[in-house]
Symmetry: C2
Subunit: 412 residues, 2 copies
């Protein structure tokens, strides 16, 4: 019998103390004692270590609960800044954020992934250094780098895997490249997972089961299962753009297969359909162009996007049966084209699902803007840097009145 | 910033001590001290409490690691037995199992769910009492009841939800009924989740991402994501039998919708297709009958099952893109019909998926037999009864040299 896996002894180190402060569960030493079960001298030692590391600061405020007023402790989200990078097919956004994922400053680079990893990552490194030298950062050190890539990513190694628009990047060490440039931990994930992370934290923090679908040039998705992002066994979970949809002809996809979801409903496919329909659309090539056409109210384009919504809805309906999500969020360039896409998605999901699966289901367009990718990167970096186990490894867990073995600090 | 949710102080109670013994991590008091970080007097107290509860016993074996030989402690899987129930559309299996999910004794009741909850649960209670009175149990008390239902189940309340073949059971308190009968905790889950649990524990214990598909009279599935069963937001995850599959006509389904997966490829649909094909098949009505026809090598039936494999493969291919599982297991009555079904599934999955998603993918027929459902129920009950938090609630976590507050024992 495999009993549930909660045997690991919980840290008594500074990590849990920091978490209690960040989560607002305790802001004085005695409240930390109560929240964590740690002894008074242990808490004092943990707070001292966290203060030295700049993560916690004593404020001038004092809180009284009967006895001597206690100093109020605060998490300092500016103890380090994160470099947040959202690499897109056609442009890349670079931002600095604090440890609460507030964007401090940002810039957009007009560089295409097709220029290859060295060119793109060099441009990112230059932009990042320029931002770090700015006044806005006010001397906060760089703590970590978070990067989203428009490709399936092996989260452990940070390398792209499998077919994607990042053909020239296969197996390139994005993580190593940026770690060399900046000398801090680098975390690399699929871009849709970062959008999902931002959506979850900012708009749906209490939902445990979330499906995020991005429909732009291509189509991708991301899954929150039991409150955590599900990356699948190799990091390819959510890669539905190349799932087959039957019944709509089998047009050739850019992946080389036929009948893929994005070959039917992705931005590039809709641009193709418009061009084929009328020479007047000869200039329509990107998802952005398609959106502009729809916004002009062009009937051809409106019918096309409604149809795309239905086809996307077929896939989303299946995912709804399989995953029973509480919330489905639709984002990406084409989701900005107005209500027609969402109407098509909703039509098919409600038509094709058992009443139970759609009983309390919310289907919502994304409310986040262009910054969603770098916001997601900021959450990713903050989660990793503030992870209690990592804090313990960095700052030590030497027992004060405890019984645990000392762990040697590990460099970040 | 929501930092990761591992702030809850880990138990220092008997639960972690029991887990260390069950998992084979420690079998002497000093090894338990090392594995858990608990002090010598705390470990002694925890072992005393666990022994009194019958969960742990001192063996005659002794283990020496230099000093005085230490008594070897063992988990007693017969400290209680579990009543394991697999309710099927046409029959119900009832078994007693120990806490390692070894079946001790079992029986099959020829009773249909259509007879309604009172009749079925009364029959189960009688059968359970008869098994408990048998010599095989040798006086082990009943610890808990696990039940699988052929319907989506709200795992918290144990009630069926949404459309299923259990029409007359809607909202019936299965949990309460059996708790009244037996006076022990009752756990109720969807039957496919229990099959999945048995598959995972017995055949794929190291896999974190597993998709289990059951194809019998109807079609259902179950998901392991990051090592845990994913039930979705309402308990309906995996209910793909009523997901729509385009491109095969839209035959009427027994749920009232059209074009559902099971209306195309489920056992009842194949029986329907055979009957429509030739009056000689007039007697074919169940999945079992269909399998018999295929086993006779009847070309009509073989072509039909191969086609059903392809249709099922469409759904499985989509699920593969969405979930990126490491292993797909196909079980249920029709999976026993030989290689044709699996060939159809494999054909579509490999044709329709990106190479990455199928790179290391294993697609395997289930190797478990008729007992899989009750085995799953046995694992479910053992997991719940031996959960460290529950053990702590039952047996107390009074500190010996610790600092934690005493928790009043809670009746099971």
């Amino acid at each position: 019998v495999n009993v549930k896996q909660n045997l690991q002894p919980t840290s008594q180190g500074p990590g849990v103390v920091l978490s209690a402060i960040i989560r607002g569960e305790a802001s004085t030493k005695s409240a930390i004692e109560a929240a964590t079960g740690l002894s008074r001298p242990t808490v004092a030692e943990r707070v001292r270590v966290l203060s030295e590391a700049g993560l916690v600061k004593e404020t001038n405020r004092r809180m009284s609960s009967g006895g001597r007023p206690a100093t109020v402790l605060e998490f300092d989200p500016r103890s380090s800044v994160s470099l947040c990078v959202d690499i897109g097919e056609e442009r890349t956004r670079v931002a600095l954020a604090d440890l609460r994922a507030e964007i401090i400053v940002e810039t957009v680079l007009e560089i295409e992934v097709a220029e290859g990893p060295r060119a793109v990552l060099s441009a990112i490194a230059s932009a990042g250094r320029a931002l770090l030298a700015g006044d806005e950062v006010a001397g906060s050190p760089l703590g970590g780098v978070g990067v989203g890539l428009p490709a399936p990513v092996d989260f452990g190694t940070g390398r792209t895997i499998g077919w994607s628009v990042m053909a020239g990047w296969d197996g390139y060490g994005v993580k190593e490249h940026l770690a060399r440039e900046f000398g801090v931990p680098v975390y690399v994930d699929n871009d849709v997972n970062l959008l999902l992370l931002a959506e979850q934290r900012l708009d749906w923090p209490d939902e445990q089961h979330l499906l995020f679908v991005k429909i732009g040039t291509g189509i991708g998705s991301g899954l929150v299962v039991d409150g955590r992002i599900n990356r699948g066994s190799l990091g390819a979970a959510g890669d539905i753009g190349h799932a087959h949809v039957s019944g709509y002809g089998d047009p050739l996809c850019r992946c080389g297969n036929r009948g893929c979801l994005e070959a039917l409903a992705g931005g590039w496919a809709l641009a193709r359909d418009l061009r084929e329909r009328d020479p007047g659309y000869a200039e329509v090539s990107s998802a952005r162009d398609v959106v502009a056409t729809i916004r002009r109210g062009d009937p051809d384009a409106v019918a096309l996007i409604r149809g795309a919504g239905r086809i996307l809805g077929e896939a989303v309906a299946f995912a709804t049966s399989l995953l029973n999500p509480a919330v489905i969020v639709v984002g990406g360039e084409l989701a900005k084209a107005g209500d027609q896409l969402m109407a098509g998605v909703r039509e098919l999901v409600y038509q094709r699902s058992l009443p139970l699966a759609t009983k309390n289901l919310i289907i919502s367009p994304s409310r986040l803007g262009e910054e969603a990718g770098v916001l997601g990167a900021a959450f990713l970096v903050a989660d990793e840097l503030l992870d209690p186990d990592r804090i313990d490894r960095l700052l030590g867990t030497s027992p004060v009145s405890g019984r645990r073995k000392e762990t040697a600090p590990v460099a970040g």
